[in-house]
């Protein structure tokens, strides 16, 4: 495969990279890799779309009790990777923040120094105030010198477990109001550590245990409504699937399982069907079960001499991508949701390309993320569903088990690039990478959809 890439230049200390142009041919590592690999002289980074991201400043204020709100909102907007988040040049905040709360909801707000924000490069300014017990978040359009949107929210107390999630929702509203893009601030990631399932906020805060037994847990997976998740537990040589309610913590075992080794559960988008892998003496195959009536076990694949596993639904529910060892080594396949029309999905070169595993279909349906063995270690790849071309996202250390954020441009994955295995988040647009959890041993992450309002913060 010919890889043609050019480094466009440096801006802002950030390496801008032009798209790598691929043409089909022998398989060298592919086009895109994370930016942290560049200093090792390995090809390219991620496909970066040159262009100026809008600047955004979160205004400081003197009102007490809002620092947490500002900090969380500012970090969420930064982690959306859609803004240049401007840090104010410290010190005298009163000259930058609003003097008096602006009264008008339209037109220029008094006390705000729009020309200064503009000079700092801000297109938007976010201001947080408190009026009584209501938190008011005002989004200013700096270019238009006016207020874009005002949100009023009675936030739970700082000590309330629902506080952070409520603030994350405000951050998502700000993103929607400024760029019209849905965010992922109000999301969580499930993962496994020391055989137990945990959840963590997408900004790395608030790690909580969700496993309720001492049995070894694996492979957590979210229902698309964000109200339930499934996972597998080892019991006496078997693998049993459980579905747990986020709000109540109550869990039920999936009825057709328990006497066999069942693993890698995946909800259909409508939440009615659970697809999973079942290992028997005939090998491993993909099955589905009707969740609502707890019945109707269906076998979608018949491997015989090869294994089929790790199903993941397309967001329209029509197709299932999965892993098949049909070509000898495991590779990414696709079939209809009823098991028909099984075919290779992610192209590979026979005898050259390494094992490919752990596919996850993106929420926008356009991509499937997976990991592939490259020279004895694992790297994260993304398959373009339409063109069926693959590109490599990572190259530093071992990188595996990617899971999509609801915006379909961020992935969480496991990497040992820091010396031990931990969770990281990569933005596919900019290549920016941040550690999600600074604890070793975290693995098998599953990123939630946007958490619905009704869900209490305590799974």
């Amino acid at each position: 495969m010919k890889v043609d890439c050019r480094i466009a230049g440096w801006a802002d200390g950030r390496l801008l990279l032009l798209a790598a142009v691929l043409s089909a041919h022998p398989p060298i590592r592919l086009s895109a890799q994370d930016t942290s690999a560049i200093d090792r002289g390995v090809r390219i980074g991620i496909v970066y779309r040159p262009g100026v991201r809008p600047g955004l400043v979160v205004l400081p204020g003197s009102q007490a009790g809002l620092d947490s709100v500002r900090t969380i909102v500012s970090r969420d907007l930064d982690y959306s990777d859609r803004f240049e988040v401007i840090t104010l040049p410290g010190g005298d905040s009163t000259s930058l923040g609003p003097g008096d709360p602006p009264r008008a909801t339209r037109g220029p707000a008094p006390g705000l120094n729009y020309p200064l924000y503009r000079a700092l490069g801000a297109d938007f300014a976010v201001e947080a105030r408190r009026v009584g017990d209501t938190t008011v978040v005002v989004v200013h359009d700096v270019a238009a010198s006016g207020i874009r949107r005002t949100f009023r929210q009675v936030l739970p107390a700082l000590s309330d477990p629902g506080f952070r999630l409520a603030v994350h929702r405000l951050a998502d509203q700000v993103l929607q109001a400024t760029l019209g893009a849905p965010g992922f601030a109000a999301t969580r990631i499930l993962f496994v550590r020391d055989g137990k399932a945990y959840r963590i906020d997408q900004d790395g805060a608030d790690v909580k245990l969700v496993s309720s037994t001492d049995h070894q847990a694996m492979s957590p997976a979210w229902a698309k409504d964000g109200r339930r998740f499934a996972y597998m537990e080892f019991t006496e040589g078997h693998g049993t699937l459980f579905v747990q309610d986020v709000a109540t913590g109550h869990r039920v075992s999936v009825v057709t399982t328990g006497k066999s080794l069942d693993f890698t559960p995946a909800f259909s988008p409508d939440g009615k069907t659970l697809a999973f892998s079942r290992a028997t003496e005939e090998g491993t195959d993909v099955y589905t079960v009707n969740m609502r009536d707890n019945c109707c076990l269906q076998r979608l694949t018949r491997g015989g001499l090869w294994d089929n596993l790790s199903p993941t639904y397309s967001p329209d529910g029509q197709r299932i991508a999965y892993v098949s060892t049909r070509p000898g080594l495991p590779q990414i396949y696709v079939m209809g949701a009823d098991g028909t029309d099984q075919q290779l999905f992610a192209p590979f070169d026979y005898g050259v390309t390494g094992s490919s595993n752990a596919p996850e279909w993106s929420p926008d349906g356009q991509s499937v993320a997976f990991h592939r063995d490259v020279g004895g270690t694992l790297q994260v790849f993304v398959l373009d569903v339409r063109t069926r071309s693959v590109r490599q996202l990572t190259s530093l250390g071992r990188n595996e088990d990617p899971t999509w954020a609801p915006d379909s441009r961020h992935l969480a994955f496991v990497s040992d690039r820091s010396g031990y295995r931990q969770l990281w988040v990569i933005d596919l647009e900019t290549g920016r990478i941040r550690p999600l959890l600074q604890q070793s041993g975290a693995r098998l992450p599953a990123w939630s959809p946007r958490i619905p309002e009704a869900v209490s913060p305590n799974p």
Partner: protein, 204 residues
């Protein structure tokens, strides 16, 4: 002994009665002469008692020996069972990402066939394991293949399939914790554990 005493006393009292009937000066009564009969009786009694003693000792000795024999044979049986158990538990190993039985593990598997044949009540579970290099979830499928490969061998050599359960733990339960080739090689394995019928194990 009691009998001896009463015989002697009897002789003594006979002498006393004779002396009293003489009604003469109360001379010093002659020292009582034990009569021959009583001596013989005492001798007999002594001999009887010695015989009883030695008979008892012999019986005790026999019991002790029997007990010792029993203990020895129990220990031998336990040792044999432990040996059988160890032979059964001997792990077999695999190449990276492979579920093909290695030729040098065939001896170990043949031993297991013999043990299963000699102990018809024995039920076992074979669990397949992997090293940490592969994908976590794929390794469950690979471990399943490894367990099934061993089961298929045993069944092909005459063991009833219903006596063997299979399981897979993927890379979740390593025996060696290192991150090197030696540890990986140890972790790519099948384990054999007894589910039931393992209380008394006969050597094949």
């Amino acid at each position: 002994m009691k009998r001896v005493h009463s015989l002697v006393l009897m002789g003594f009292s006979v002498a006393l009665v004779a002396a009293a009937c003489g009604k003469k000066a109360p001379e010093v009564a002659p020292a009582p002469q034990p009569n021959a009969d009583s001596i013989a009786a005492a001798e007999r009694a002594r001999a009887d008692s010695a015989a009883a003693d030695s008979a008892r000792r012999a019986q005790e000795e026999a019991e002790r020996i029997a007990r010792q024999r029993e203990a020895d044979s129990a220990a031998a049986a336990a040792a044999a069972a432990a040996e059988v158990r160890n032979m059964l538990a001997a792990m077999i190993h695999f190449d990276f990402d492979k579920a093909i039985l290695r030729p040098d593990d065939q001896g170990a598997l043949d031993q297991k066939v013999a043990i299963l044949n000699a102990n018809p009540d024995l039920h076992i579970r074979i669990s397949g394991h992997c090293d940490e290099r592969g994908s976590d979830e794929y390794n469950l499928a690979l471990g399943n293949r490894r367990a099934t490969a061993a089961k298929n061998y045993l069944v092909a050599h005459g063991v009833d399939a219903s006596r063997i359960e299979t399981a897979s733990y993927g890379e979740e339960r390593p025996v060696a914790m290192g991150h090197d080739e030696d540890s990986w090689a140890q972790n790519r394995r099948d384990e054999f554990e007894i589910l039931s019928g393992g209380d008394v194990l006969r050597k094949p």
